[in-house]
């Protein structure tokens, strides 16, 4: 029942939220429902450890062989948890932001959450596709309704780009469907489908392009910085914190196990692309003057590493990816929260106009430094564990690739410290002269995040254990 609730609660509360007019009420309602979701997903983890079957199966489209099958495995647990943790934090952090027509805003946020939950939970390919789209639509509205001045064009680019991807994937889905012996979309049936190498590589690309756009991998990333820059920060947090993980999750759940040979065949190209992307994005990030864009590019770089680690196809790497999905989500949300606080206070994100904030807002400065250190994967922050494992996996794949990819660690230090220095250090600018400490809700959310970061950095083992079964399942399918 838990998986159903995970989808149902955000869905229903979202629909209800459409009809809430009063801003306070809308915020409260959203926060409440997201907290309930969080509680449930946490409960899910504990039950899970007692090895209870967390699957739900219902008839949906008998004539088409599609069923409403959802379930929680280790990987799903982690991502649902991320999804469930992210929302309350986001709502709390942006609690003071004022949106026109707040009911709709929070409704769409919750619907997005529901969609993503569905993606992480569905065990049926067609269902997966449904949620995949369902997550996209509200995000589209959020971005182009409440976004920046260039929002409409930018978000539309984002939408069409991803839409093309998902339509191509739909073809792939259908193709697989007709290859299954008993014409079914069920996970197992899809896993057992057998293709000729020609078909396999063809369908592989149909799927991969969709996921690569979502992640995004190097040549397909063009939608991302603009969208992150233009969207309202709350939405950006959802996009970069959780939705981006949909792509990676999908690769792990629907790509690696289904097309083992094609994955083998193309892993090299993809890893090379990812590594190029890492360096490329990092170098661009070094030159950024806009905080949001910088974070966007750094996020591209991190995602690139995850993708590379996936296609290295070994256990360590995959475990690293799984926990890093969570960690990256947490860290990047932390960075966005600060970005949001700064933008709200000064109405700008340009480093050139900021500076010396550490004198005015020491607490914010300290917390941001923690986030920044997590972003550069410093030991005893959560990101270190993930990146350590991922690089390890990549290393087992090839040492030179790892060495080149490692350069991004250095570059990450460069651009992150740039950001810290230009915002918080140095003399105060005209703008920051009469700044004061960040709002309490911002502080508290950041403190929570910081605690999570440190705790997971010092004692990551439980989460690593959580990934075991999923990884084994995936590894079993590889070769």
């Amino acid at each position: 029942m838990i998986p159903v609730l995970l989808i149902l609660i955000p869905l229903l509360s979202g629909l209800i939220s459409f009809f809430i007019k009063d801003p306070k009420a809308a915020k409260g309602w959203a926060l409440l429902s997201s907290l309930v979701t969080l509680a449930i997903s946490v409960a899910g983890i504990f039950i899970y450890n007692q090895a209870v079957n967390l699957h739900y199966d219902a008839s949906w489209l008998p004539t088409l062989g599609a069923r409403f099958t959802i379930g929680l495995d280790g990987m799903g647990q982690i991502l649902c948890l991320l999804n469930a943790v992210a929302m309350p934090l986001i709502f709390a952090a942006t609690y003071r932001n004022h949106y026109q027509n707040p009911g709709a805003f929070y409704a769409l946020m919750l619907l997005t959450q529901a969609g993503m939950m569905g993606v992480f939970l569905s065990y049926d390919l067609l269902l997966f596709y449904f949620f995949w789209e369902l997550a996209l639509i509200p995000a589209y509205f959020l971005c182009s309704q409440w976004g920046g001045e260039k929002r409409i064009a930018v978000t539309f680019k984002f939408f069409v780009y991803t839409f093309v991807g998902s339509l191509l994937m739909l073809i792939g889905i259908l193709y697989l469907y007709y290859k299954t012996p008993e014409q079914s979309f069920a996970l197992q049936a899809i896993y057992n489908v057998s293709l000729t190498s020609g078909q396999e590589s063809f369908i592989f690309w149909l799927f991969f392009i969709a996921f690569a756009i979502k992640m995004p991998i190097f040549p397909f990333h063009t939608w991302q910085p603009d969208t992150y820059e233009q969207s309202p920060t709350a939405t950006t947090m959802v996009l970069s914190g959780v939705m981006v993980k949909m792509g990676i999750f999908a690769v792990l759940r629907w790509l690696i196990p289904v097309f083992p040979n094609a994955v083998d065949q193309f892993s090299q190209i993809i890893i090379i692309l990812s590594v190029i992307g890492m360096l490329y994005a990092s170098l661009i990030a070094i030159r950024q003057d806009d905080m949001k864009r910088l974070i966007a590019y750094s996020s591209i770089a991190h995602i690139g590493l995850m993708c590379a680690a996936i296609f290295a196809q070994n256990k360590v790497g995959l475990q690293g990816v799984m926990i890093q999905m969570f960690n990256h989500g947490i860290n990047v949300i932390g960075l966005w929260i600060v970005a949001d606080a700064i933008e709200n206070k000064f109405g700008t994100r340009k480093f050139s106009q900021l500076g010396g904030l550490a004198q005015k807002a020491p607490v914010l400065a300290i917390l941001f430094v923690v986030m920044a250190l997590a972003n550069v994967a410093l030991p005893l922050t959560n990101a270190f564990v993930g990146e350590f494992l991922m690089f390890n996996g990549l290393f087992q794949y090839d040492i030179w690739t790892t060495a080149v990819a490692g350069i991004s660690i250095i570059l990450a230090a460069v651009y992150t410290l740039n950001m810290v220095q230009k915002i918080f250090y140095g003399e105060v600018s005209t703008l920051t002269a009469q700044a004061d400490e960040a709002k309490t809700n911002t502080q508290y959310t950041l403190i929570i995040l910081a605690i999570v970061i440190i705790v997971l950095g010092i004692y990551p083992q439980p989460m690593i254990r959580l990934t075991e079964d999923s990884v084994n399942a995936i590894i079993a399918t590889i070769k």
Partner: protein, 639 residues
């Protein structure tokens, strides 16, 4: 015992937390007391541990699994053995002194910043302890990056000044370059033997092929380069002098920069089996020693001189490691910790008295104003210059002897470096303390001896750097009086088996020692004479100018690495991203728009043309269907 061990790093961490969290509410004295107190406690425990180790060998304390995956398991464990316990003493001991010193040195700071300073300092000690106590490379790496962070924070302590921030960033990034090497080495080890715990790795040493070992050791050494400021990654250290002087003393002289030596000493066995790497290590060390020394000859900033001398001394230590004189290296680490900390603190006391004047050309004649500082500083200079029987003499001598054993050329170059050291140290001493005062009047007016919180650590360190040498008396004076060697023997035993320890005859050693000592005295006298009466300074020209500008290395790096990277980044950001990546997508969009504008013109609203198209396409369809056999086969061949 485990808990006791755990306390060592934990205490500084607690200090960090208290000072960090309650910085607003703590008074200066409180945070000072807390900050130094925890270190003192840690020092006490370290002494206990040291004795325990001395009597009944090393211990490994396991706590919990940090990372445990199928491929490998990384426990969070500490290893207290001869080497680490020695380092514990150095770190906590000198650390304590410097904390005490800082309470006086930083008293001008606002309370909260004062607390922040101590928080950072404690955090540093914590990470440094992790570094040396860790029982595997990963824990070491954690400490490794931790100290990097702290040095970043402390260099940029006065964060209003952007130059300081740049220096801090430079330090962090350059360390990162090294860290990458270190990290890769760890991966390699894990991939090979599936563990990073020293004991297991060294036990499984023969599983490595020669090339692998070379590779791993090289990568480790890259890490050491970064952390211990060796060529080519040394440029951050002189800039790091932007930080408060006690920080320079603690981090950039006594402890952190020696992490590289610790690491290599730790994994000495691997280096012993990888002679090629050892060769590189020796050469790099030697080159650094000379190179830095030359620069130090012409520096006028009191701290810069000391910084370069540190680099050069570190070079000596690597030389020692490279030639297999591991004990010598560690010995030099220790003595260097003493006298270099002393010198820095002395310099700090001077700067403090001169109100943050650091240019030695504006000093002079401080002898009578601040006697204690003067005496201790002089002792420090003698120690570093290697004048018997001061500590530096023994340690440096041991390294040089080792160098001679492996390759006489190393020895001669090393000696040259030692002479330069003597020269620039006494140039510094003379210009600072001898002659007349060259500063402004109100500076002269305020000149005074520093408070006891500053002088006491100076005195303690002075004593240590005088007597410190006797821990390692070479064999020529008396057989196995070398306590340190005997103490550290378990660590280097394995390596020593490999190295055929052919000790050269005592006679030659005597001659060498005598000759060197004589030369050193000459150099000192020369420097003394040259600079003690110096009044005015003419501009440097020729080689002097080059040296003053540090061989223009920073400029070189800037133009061959930093600028190109920025250019590439800019190109990607402004050109490639916009025109290619984005351009492709938008181009498609624009193409569609354009074709839309064209296609809709076909719809010209005239029935005649509409029907014309219909008729023509009717004809086409008929033809296709009639010739379908041809067309279909053609398509087949196409697809």
């Amino acid at each position: 015992m485990n808990n006791l061990i755990l306390l060592v790093p934990l205490l500084p961490f607690i200090g960090f937390l208290i000072n960090g969290l309650f910085r607003k509410s703590l008074s200066r004295s409180m945070s000072g007391i807390i900050g130094s107190g925890v270190i003192l406690a840690a020092f006490a425990i370290s002494v206990v541990l040291f004795l325990h180790v001395k009597n009944n060998g090393g211990i490994v304390a396991n706590y919990f699994d940090f990372i445990n995956v199928e491929a490998f398991r990384i426990p969070f464990a500490f290893q207290i053995d001869q080497l680490s316990s020695l380092f514990l003493l150095i770190i906590t001991g000198i650390g304590f002194l410097i904390h005490v010193y800082s309470t006086a040195y930083m008293h001008e700071e606002k309370p909260e910043h004062f607390a922040r300073y101590f928080a950072y300092l404690n955090l540093f000690v914590f990470s440094m302890l992790l570094l040396v106590m860790g029982a595997n490379f990963v824990i070491m790496f954690i400490g490794w990056e931790g100290v990097g962070l702290c040095s970043y924070l402390l260099i940029g302590y006065w964060f209003k000044n952007n130059n300081y921030n740049y220096a801090a960033k430079k330090a962090f990034v350059m360390n990162r370059i090294g860290d990458l090497g270190f990290l890769l080495a760890i991966f390699w080890i894990l991939a090979k033997v599936g563990t990073a715990t020293y004991v297991d790795v060294f036990a499984a040493i023969d599983q490595f092929s020669a090339t692998e070992l070379t590779g791993i050791t090289m990568l480790l050494f890259v890490g050491a380069m970064g952390k211990s400021a060796q060529l080519p990654l040394y440029t951050w250290l002189p800039d790091a002098m932007a930080g408060p002087t006690p920080v320079s003393a603690l981090i950039h002289a006594a402890t952190m920069v020696t992490a590289g030596i610790y690491m290599i000493a730790r994994s000495n066995i691997m280096y012993t089996i990888a002679p090629y790497t050892s060769e590189i290590v020796a050469i790099v060390g030697l080159a650094t020693a000379i190179f830095a020394a030359t620069i130090a000859l012409k520096q006028n900033d009191i701290k810069k001189v000391l910084a370069y001398s540190t680099v050069s001394q570190l070079g000596y230590m690597f030389l020692g490691l490279g030639v297999g004189a591991y004990t010598g290296a560690v010995f030099h680490v220790m003595t260097h910790a003493f006298f270099k900390a002393l010198l820095f603190l002395g310099a700090g006391s001077v700067i403090h008295a001169m109100h943050h004047e650091q240019d030695i050309r504006n000093m002079g004649g401080l002898k009578k104003h601040m006697p204690i500082t003067h005496i201790t500083f002089l002792l420090g200079c003698l120690a570093i210059a290697g004048v018997p029987p001061f500590s530096g003499f023994f340690s440096k001598d041991e390294i040089l002897v080792g160098a001679y054993n492996s390759n006489p050329l190393f020895y001669y170059i090393g000696v040259a470096g030692a002479l330069m050291t003597a020269f620039y140290m006494f140039r510094l001493y003379a210009l600072t303390f001898l002659g007349k005062f060259r500063g402004t009047h109100e500076q002269q007016h305020h000149l005074h001896e520093s408070p006891s919180a500053i002088t006491i650590p100076l005195i303690v360190l002075a004593i240590l750097s005088v007597v410190g040498g006797f821990l390692g008396i070479p064999a020529i004076f008396s057989e196995n009086a070398h306590m340190l060697e005997n103490f550290l023997d378990p660590i280097f035993a394995a390596s020593n088996e490999y190295t055929t320890a052919h000790h050269l005859e005592h006679s030659t050693e005597w001659i060498m020692m005598g000759a060197v000592t004589l030369l050193i005295f000459i150099v000192i006298a020369f420097a003394w004479k040259k600079y003690s009466r110096r009044e005015r300074f003419e501009k440097n020209t020729g080689i002097g100018k080059v040296l003053e500008n540090k061989w223009y290395v920073d400029e070189l790096y800037d133009s061959i690495i930093v600028k190109p990277l920025h250019a590439i980044g800019g190109f990607f950001k402004d050109v490639f991203e916009k025109s290619v990546v984005d351009g492709a997508v938008n181009g498609v969009g624009r193409m569609i728009q354009y074709s839309s504008r064209q296609v809709r013109l076909i719809q010209n609203g005239q029935v005649g043309s509409y029907i014309l198209v219909m008729v023509l396409s009717l004809i086409v369809i008929i033809l296709i269907l009639r010739e379908q056999t041809v067309i279909v086969s053609a398509l087949r061949s196409l697809f």
